[in-house]
Structure formats: structure tokens, C-alpha cells
Amino acid sequence: MPQSSNTFVRFEKIDKSYDGKELVVKNLNLDIAEGEFLTLLGPSGSGKTTTLMMLAGFENPTSGEIYLDKKPISSITPHKRGIGMVFQNYALFPHMTVYENLAFPLRVRKIQNDEIENKINKALDMVSLTNFENRMPNQLSGGQQQRVAVARALVFEPKLVLMDEPLGALDKNLRESMQYELKHIHETLGVTIVYVTHDQGEALTMSNRIAVFNDGYIQQLSSPNELYERPTNSFVARFIGENNIINGTIVESDSKQCKVKTDNDEIIHANPVISNNVGDTTSMSLRPERVLINPSAEIPNKFKAKIEEVIYHGDHTRLRVKLLNQNDFILKVPNASNIFSFENGSELLLGWDSQDCRALDFIDN
């Protein structure tokens, strides 16, 4: 969660269009607190990178205003904004050594030579790249280049650092270890970070808050666990993590619970999040790990299922079962227990709590 409630960056009624015909960002209102790690998450073309570029100053909002530390910044050129930035492909200066790369922002600021050296040593130490000062960027591995890029964005001690899919080009293991490293750097320095990614895992691991973008709008802005556990619309539910979607029509509803009739006339007890008018169609979202096997008596939703496929995943087993006439219903069972043995074609009794089954806006498959 935000460490302090004072707003550091504020987007106010931002619209952005490149061609005058289509809006890439629509009526964006977003407050970012000082010291926060905020991730803009979304599929490509959702407007997240455009938002970041407007904050950096490389794109201008078509209307609206961005405030940095309460001052409007639309008319300030990028080099005067004092915002550090890590680019997708590192954007290290290929003709300069690591040291010269890091010295660039400091020399521009007319800092004394001995202090430059101090700061650079500190920054390189932070990303564990001491003794790499005299290497050229092309003599470094992808991960090392990434660290240099991070160090360069931080070396002049900006209060705000923007990162544009910085880990996209790294392999999986390296990406994960860099995620932790960035998280630690953020915690140590207390700098505000706005991070753009399309990788939900990355977003969930590192962020204080995540803004899920789609179609130019923020679909949901909340903490990682909130986002995962309580998505507020079908897009977010489908985009983050895995989901079982069941479509139906609401037949009975109060503020806490609703009954939904599925296409094959079964009744499901669900949690009314968006849809709560009787007669509305709804898409219900149910996380695979929230499905219980042989549920206890008080669970309202109980259905018979037939195992279609068993997939072993190391730490858990995935079962694809036929349930309610849908044969792409997925559930995850942790492997630690070893209570069950699954075979193709065998039948199971499955159930879930009504609160875990969220009735959201209807999206046709």
C-alpha cells in the first residue's frame, strides 16, 4: 500500500489521441503516492505505455493535465522534468563505457568529478556491478546491461523513476531475480516507481498497486491481492490469473448473494459484484484453486464432474473436467497432500463457496 497518502503524481482528465480519430487513453484520472511502486498492466495497445510516455514528456496529452509534485508539467520538456527512466531495450549509450553512461546525467548537472565517482560507485554497488566501470555495454550480458540501465536511471537521485517493460528481454530465471532486486531497490531508496508491463506475474510480485489498462481505460486500480482475489470486472478476472467462466442469468438477487441460472438450468449461488438485477446475463468467474473436492455440507454449490485430462505441474496438478456441460473447467490441486489419485474418466464431486464465484459483467466467449 502507499506509504504516505500525499499525491506525488496526478493525472487529471487525460485524453490522448495520435491520429485525431481514435483515443488511445480516455479520461485518465490517476493519483500516485510518493514512494509508491505502481504498475501499469495491460495487453499491448491498451494505453499503458502511452501513459508512461506522457509522464516522461515524450508524448503530450491531447487534453488534461499531469501534475508532478503539485506542479503542472505538460509544458516542461523531458530533460527538465528530472524523471529517471529505464527503457525497454536498456538504451545504454553504446559508445560509452559503463562509467561514462552513469556519469552522463551527473555531468549534465555539473556535479564535481570526485562526487560523480562517489555516486557512480554507490549506484554500481547497489546493482552489484562493482568493477564493471570500464566495460562497454556490448561486453555485458543482457542482465548486466539491465542493471546498468537501472543504475543510470537512479544515479542522479530522481524522486520518480519510470520503467518501460525493462525485464521483457531477459530469460525467465533472470527476470525473476531482477524482480526481487528491483523490489529491494525500491524499498531501500523509497523512490516512486511507475512500472509498465504486460506480464501479470511481474506486476503482482513487485507492485504496491496495479492499474489494469484495457482499451484506454483503467479497468481496476488496486493492490495485487485485491486484484487477484476480487476482480471487479470480467476483463480483469480473465487477464489476471486463471479463471473458469460460467455464463448465466440472474434469477434472484440481494446485496450479498445471488442465484444464477446457467444455460443448462442449474442454479449457482454467486457473489453479485456488478450484476445484481434479476434478469441480467452475467459471466461468473471462479479461480481454479477455489474449487473444492468433496466439499462439506454447508457449501451451496455442488456438482458432479468427470475428469477429462490430468496434467502434472510439479507443485500442483491441473485437472480438466467436464462440469455443467462445459468441458474446459479447470481446477488446481496442490500436490503436497497426495490425498487424491486422479484418473481420466473417473467422477468427482466438486463445489465452491458462493463468495468465490463472482458474478461480473457478461462477456460472451
Binding site: 516522461a56 514528456g57 515524450f58 520538456t77 523531458p78 530533460h79 527538465k80 522534468r81 528530472g82 524523471i83 529517471g84 527512466m85 527503457f87 525497454q88 531495450n89 538504451a91 545504454l92 549509450f93 553504446p94 559508445h95 552522463f104 546525467p105 549534465v108 548537472r109 543510470r152 536511471a153 542522479f156 519510470l162
Partner: protein, 413 residues
């Protein structure tokens, strides 16, 4: 270290070589036709031409005994009777074989006046009587008593000579072998060399200044616009050089389009139309336009590879646009600048048609002089000496470029 063997027991190196040899041979076969063509049509003629610049056997073959005799002659006073006699015999022999014309032409390069002297003399050769050749020669024409002619002949005699090279920088050898400046009014080449390098350098700089912004624009525009612009840049390539130069003539001449416009807008008076052609200005303008694509293309190909995020990074780190340009973008375009400049400069110092057509007297370059020797004076030795010097200066430039920037850095598109 023991040798590594393959599974079959042969040494690894040998079997690797065997496999590679086949590939190498195949590759060689692919190159062979071009190689043969180049050797026959390019390398051999060039070597032949280069040897002409030092090859002086013609005259010593025509007057073999005289050549030997003159090489022993001090050159301080008129030759002895013996040398006159030997010269008479050689000349007579050459005349009988109808080769005395060649003698007169060749000796005329050494000293003006020789042509008529020999021509007059050879007609009287049959009247010569045995003995006292010296007096007979001098009686025939008193130039034969002028030591300068004999000195010139001595200098012209050696089988191999660097005279042509000296001549192309306005130096010559006197009869005692010292290298001296040519007389003031016969110095012409050095000015031309200076002018050639001056024009080449100037054109290179102009091209660079004009091409840099265009290339930058080309590399940053969206593809469909950049293609159109690239076609505009390349359009001159698809037009004949002669046509382009002639169109410059239409534009630049005193009654030409440009002057008409200036007069129409009363920027210059009708009486004081600008002389834009048949001088250095014409050469400069036309050559810059013609060589511009050779600068744009290498620059473009280098700039295209510079990711735009670098300049963004520069400005996000606090660099002003100018500072970022100077520290980041500009240094990264060095390979393009180097390649383009080298290309334009090399093409410019050998440029011929354009200066010939629009250069006039003050705008002609060394290549025009080479052509003059090839076509007018027929002094091919001189032409090839100057050509060799041009070639060597290009090679020196190339070497310098390699030393300073590294030839691997070069990018030609």
C-alpha cells in the same frame, strides 16, 4: 599435445581440411568468372598504364647508341664529334625505318622546338657527308649548337624515368640530374592539384552539411514517407550524369533560369548578371548536387540503426537536446560520416565530366588535365603518371581513414 583423432582414426585437422577444401573450391569456382574478367579488363590495363608512367624505352630504342653515348657525356659543354656522329647514324637508321617522326614527337616533350628541328634535319640527312658531323649539324641548323637541346636529349634518354611524376608537380630534372622547379610560366599542374583537393574537400563538406539533416529525417520518418524521400534522393542516380550536368548548365548560365529569376525580381541588374558557370562556382554547385546521394546513403544506413530511445534516454537523464545530440547521436554517426566523406572525396578528386562542362578555365580539375594529355598531347606517360598519383592519394586517404577510424567501422548502406 597429442593430436586429436576422428572416430575413424584420421587426424581431426586433416579430415576437417578435406571437408573444407571442397567448399573452398566451390566458392572459388563461383568467383572465377568475375576474377578473370577483372584481371583482363581491369587489373592488367591498369598495370599496363602504370608502367607507362615510368617506361621511357621508346626513345632509347629509337636512338640506342646515342642513349649510351649521352649517358657518358658530362653535359657542361657541347658534345664531342663522336656523339654527333653516333647521333647521325641513329637518326638516319630511324629515318630509314620511317620512325623519325616518333623521335621528333618524343623529344618535343623534352624541349619545345625539337619537333621542327628534327623534321627539318631529317630531310637533309641524305646530304650529309662522311666526317665532321658536328659542323654539318650546326651549319644545318644552329640550334644543334645550342647546348640546351643536347641537355634536354640527355635527360630524356634513360630507359626508366620519374620525369613524368616530376612534371605532374611542376618539377623537372636538369641535365646533371638535379630536381628543379619548372620555369614560372610553365607551372600549371600544382595549381590544378591544389584546386582539385580544395574542390574535393569543399564538395565533401557541402555534401555533409546538406546530407546530414536529410539523412536524419529519412531515418526518423515513417516508412511510407521515408521511401518517397529516398526516391527523391536517389532520383539523380537514375538520370544520366551528362543530362544532369547539362541541366545545371541551363540553370546556371548567364542567360539561364537562375539569372533570369534574379533579374526578374530585380535582385541583380540585367547588365550585371552573375557568372555562375564556367568557373569554380559552377563546378562546386554541380558536383555537390551530383555527389549528394553518396553522402546521404551511408549516413542514412548508419542513422537507421541508432535506436530513437537513445536520444530519449539522453533527455530523460537531463541532457538538453543539443547536448544529447553532441554526446550521443553525433558520435554514433561517425562511421556514416567517415564512409560518406571518404566516398564523396574519392569520387570528387577524380571527377571529370562535370568540371569539363561547367568548370571553364578556373574550374577544371586534375582529371581534365589527364584527359587533355590522353587526347590532345597524346602524352600517355604523363597521363598515367598523374593517374597513378591520383590513385596513390586515394590509397593514402584510405589508409589514413583506416588508421584513424578503422575500416571495419565503415558502412556503405
Amino acid at each position: 599435445m597429442s593430436k586429436i583423432l576422428t572416430t575413424e582414426g584420421l587426424p581431426l585437422e586433416t579430415s576437417l581440411k578435406k571437408v573444407e577444401q571442397k567448399n573452398k573450391f566451390r566458392a572459388f569456382l563461383l568467383v572465377l568468372p568475375l576474377l578473370l574478367f577483372l584481371i583482363v579488363a581491369y587489373v592488367w590495363p591498369i598495370l599496363n598504364l602504370l608502367t607507362r608512367s615510368v617506361d621511357n624505352r621508346l626513345i632509347s630504342d629509337l636512338l640506342p647508341q646515342t642513349a649510351i653515348a649521352l649517358s657518358n657525356w658530362e653535359g657542361n659543354e657541347l658534345p664531342s664529334e663522336d656523339i654527333y656522329k653516333i647521333f647521325y647514324l641513329d637518326l638516319n637508321e630511324a629515318h630509314k625505318q620511317k620512325l623519325s617522326g616518333k623521335v621528333s614527337t618524343r623529344l618535343n616533350y623534352a624541349k619545345n622546338g625539337f619537333k621542327s628541328l628534327i623534321n627539318k634535319t631529317r630531310r637533309k640527312l641524305k646530304n650529309f657527308e662522311d666526317g665532321n658531323y658536328k659542323d654539318q649539324f650546326i651549319d644545318l641548323n644552329k640550334k644543334w649548337g645550342d647546348i640546351e637541346y643536347w641537355q634536354a636529349m640527355k635527360v630524356a634518354m634513360p630507359k626508366y624515368t620519374i620525369d613524368k611524376y616530376l612534371g605532374s608537380v611542376d618539377l623537372e630534372k636538369n641535365y646533371s640530374g638535379e630536381i628543379i622547379q619548372k620555369p614560372e610560366k610553365r607551372r600549371i599542374h600544382r595549381t590544378l592539384w591544389y584546386r582539385t583537393f580544395y574542390v574535393a574537400l569543399g564538395v565533401t563538406i557541402c555534401c555533409l552539411l546538406l546530407a546530414y539533416p536529410i539523412a536524419h529525417l529519412l531515418s526518423t520518418l515513417p516508412l511510407r514517407y521515408s521511401n518517397l524521400l529516398l526516391i527523391c534522393v536517389l532520383l539523380p542516380f537514375w538520370t544520366s550524369l551528362l543530362v544532369r550536368t547539362s541541366s545545371w548548365m541551363i540553370l546556371l548560365q548567364q542567360q539561364g533560369v537562375l539569372n533570369d529569376i534574379l533579374v526578374y525580381f530585380k535582385i541583380v541588374g540585367d547588365k550585371s548578371r552573375l557568372e555562375l558557370m564556367y568557373n569554380m562556382t559552377g563546378t562546386f554547385v554541380a558536383m555537390t548536387q551530383i555527389l549528394l546521394p553518396f553522402m546521404v546513403l551511408p549516413l542514412y544506413s548508419v542513422m537507421k540503426t541508432i535506436p530513437p530511445s537513445l536520444m530519449r534516454a539522453g533527455s530523460s537523464l537531463g541532457g538538453t537536446p543539443f547536448h544529447s545530440f553532441r554526446k550521443i547521436y553525433f558520435p554514433l554517426t561517425y562511421p556514416g560520416i567517415g564512409a560518406g566523406s571518404l566516398l564523396v572525396f574519392i569520387l570528387a578528386i577524380g571527377y571529370y565530366i562535370t568540371p569539363a562542362l561547367v568548370g571553364g578555365a578556373s574550374g577544371t580539375l586534375i582529371s581534365n588535365r589527364i584527359a587533355y594529355h590522353m587526347k590532345e598531347t597524346l602524352d600517355w606517360s604523363m597521363a598515367s603518371a598523374m593517374g597513378t598519383m591520383l590513385l596513390v592519394s586515394v590509397l593514402v586517404l584510405y589508409w589514413l581513414y583506416n588508421k584513424i577510424l578503422g575500416i571495419d567501422n565503415i558502412k556503405l548502406g
